[in-house]
């Protein structure tokens, strides 16, 4: 059986914000691109994120996914296959020859793109790896009680709760909310030494959203230190400190108290105490994508010391974009996608010139 054949100047692996931004950027430069997404629909992690605006836009970037999806659907230079996986790849001439395999469960979902139906061989001049990062599974930090203690959620679960309107006067109305930072970041005991860079920003912004939805609620922010999370973050902090209680201590554990989770922590110069909360949110960090090694091997991309993908010194024509290359916010992932697009476009242009010149 021969595979279906496809030719594309640029292949983009991953239809999250980085991959979509790269495709849109390429289309604006007049370069066609094919996105393959392993899930049945596009959007990646960003599709689960909530808007973090209160009085003003918080510039979290969550809404820009919709914009990108519309552009990707309408730009004729962009072809999208969902439920598709790259299973083999080899350098071929100036570019790459990539085997794509359809994934089970690839029904047509809402949004742009159609599922890949058959094994396909794709020839391309450049490859952009935009497969995203992987959020830390908080069950790996057992002492914080996720999956064991009722009322303990990961920040991703809170994103979903907020975007579905589950919190508010007519829904869940926790009187006391705690955020625990650096869960799965800056943790030598887990071998995860990096700062995930996005958690302080999303936690403080979601804390502010909760305070807006439930003005009577009290929000506590357990942290080691507050990291830079974007433009003018230092100017926002004084106001945030008025709205929330900042506690500079990492809790020792979260246990099941009397019907709600209890957090054990020690303030400077004071004895450890247990304090009850209605909702404890674990601010999970960003790690390398699952299967980074396999994908790296496929396209000859190396891993950096933290396990993220890098193409420094790697093969020609392979670029990495977004959180696959290191922890990045949505806005940063989109900009990074644009960078990969410009690199891929230069390569396509120089190859075309060489052929015709």
């Amino acid at each position: 059986m021969t595979n279906a054949q496809l030719d594309t100047p640029v292949l983009i692996l991953g239809g999250g914000v980085a991959g979509l931004a790269a495709a849109v950027d390429l289309a604006r430069r007049g370069v066609a691109a094919t996105i393959i997404e392993r899930e049945p629909r596009l959007g990646g992690r960003a599709s689960q994120f909530c808007c973090k605006a209160t009085e003003a836009c918080a510039r979290c970037g969550a809404c820009r996914l919709g914009e990108l999806l519309v552009q990707a659907a309408h730009l004729p230079q962009i072809t999208i296959y969902t439920a598709a996986l790259a299973v083999a790849a080899q350098p071929q001439g100036d570019g790459w020859r990539v085997e794509l395999s359809p994934q089970p469960g690839g029904e047509i979902g809402p949004g742009p793109g159609r599922p890949l139906r058959e094994r396909t061989t794709l020839n391309t001049q450049a490859v952009i790896l935009a497969v995203g990062g992987e959020a830390f599974n908080p069950a790996g930090k057992t002492r914080f009680g996720h999956g064991r203690v009722d009322g303990v959620f990961s920040a991703l679960e809170l994103e979903a709760m907020l975007s579905q309107g589950a919190l508010g006067p007519d829904g869940l109305a926790p009187a006391k909310v705690a955020f625990i930072q650096c869960v799965g970041s800056r943790d030598a005991s887990l071998g995860r030494l990096w700062c995930s860079r996005v958690c302080c920003g999303y936690a403080l912004r979601m804390g502010r959203v909760i305070r807006k939805l439930l003005p009577e609620s009290q929000v506590t922010f357990f942290h080691m230190d507050v990291q830079d999370y974007g433009r003018a973050w230092e100017d926002e902090l004084p106001e945030l400190r008025k709205q929330m209680r900042f506690v500079r201590a990492m809790p020792g554990e979260v246990t099941a108290g009397d019907g709600r989770p209890e957090v054990t922590y020690a303030l400077a110069g004071e004895q450890a105490i247990k304090e009850g909360f209605d909702l404890v949110v674990l601010s999970v960090g960003l790690g390398p994508p699952n299967g980074a090694s396999a994908l790296g091997e496929l396209f000859g991309a190396a891993k950096d010391s933290d396990g993220f993908l890098t193409t420094d010194g790697g093969p020609a024509g392979v670029f990495v974009a977004g959180a696959a290359a290191g922890p990045r916010s949505l806005n940063e992932s989109m900009v990074h996608g644009g960078l990969a697009a410009s690199q891929a476009a230069s390569r396509v242009a120089s190859l075309t010139e060489a052929r015709h010149g």
Partner: protein, 165 residues
């Protein structure tokens, strides 16, 4: 607190001691303080505070403090530490410096004397060896020589003399 009263070299002195290296990695996150069972019973015992005092160079205050001898070596601090500071080991390093400078509490001296005399904390008597003989086990000998060498009471084995029985 006056900065002039602090010894900036103290943290390096602790880090150079076996087990003390971990002090360099502390984020002062207080996870150790949150879980320390000694701290739960002694309001003035706080691992984070002892580390901060050491990093600040409060040498005399740390070495002469009775608090450094209270650690129960349960290693809970090490379990929860995100930075693998191993506070139990750091404190052992601090205690070693303190002991060298004569700050060891009476209990530590009594312990050392028992080790020098018996080679172990519990004296071996006929009771233990009769029980062992009943079970077909060889008798245990008290061999305090190694400890006497460690404590500087006699030359190390191999350097001179025969081990006392």
């Amino acid at each position: 607190m006056r900065l002039n009263d602090c010894d900036p070299g103290f943290k390096h002195e602790v880090a150079a001691e076996p087990g003390g290296e971990g002090i360099r990695a502390c984020f002062a996150c207080a996870a150790c303080s949150a879980r320390c069972p000694v701290g739960a019973n002694r309001p003035d015992y706080d691992p984070r505070r002892l580390i901060r005092l050491t990093l600040l160079g409060r040498r005399d205050e740390v070495l002469s403090s009775p608090l450094i001898w209270l650690c129960s070596s349960c290693y809970t601090c090490g379990e929860v530490c995100p930075q693998q500071v191993r506070f139990t080991e750091v404190l052992t390093a601090i205690k070693n410096i303190a002991a060298r400078e004569g700050h060891a509490p009476p209990s530590a001296k009594i312990t050392a004397e028992l080790l020098a005399k018996q080679g172990r904390l519990l004296e071996v008597t006929d009771f233990e060896n009769d029980k062992r003989a009943d079970l077909g086990l060889p008798p245990v000998e008290q061999r305090p020589g190694d400890f006497q060498a460690i404590l500087g009471l006699k030359p190390a084995e191999g350097e001179a003399g025969e081990e006392p029985r």
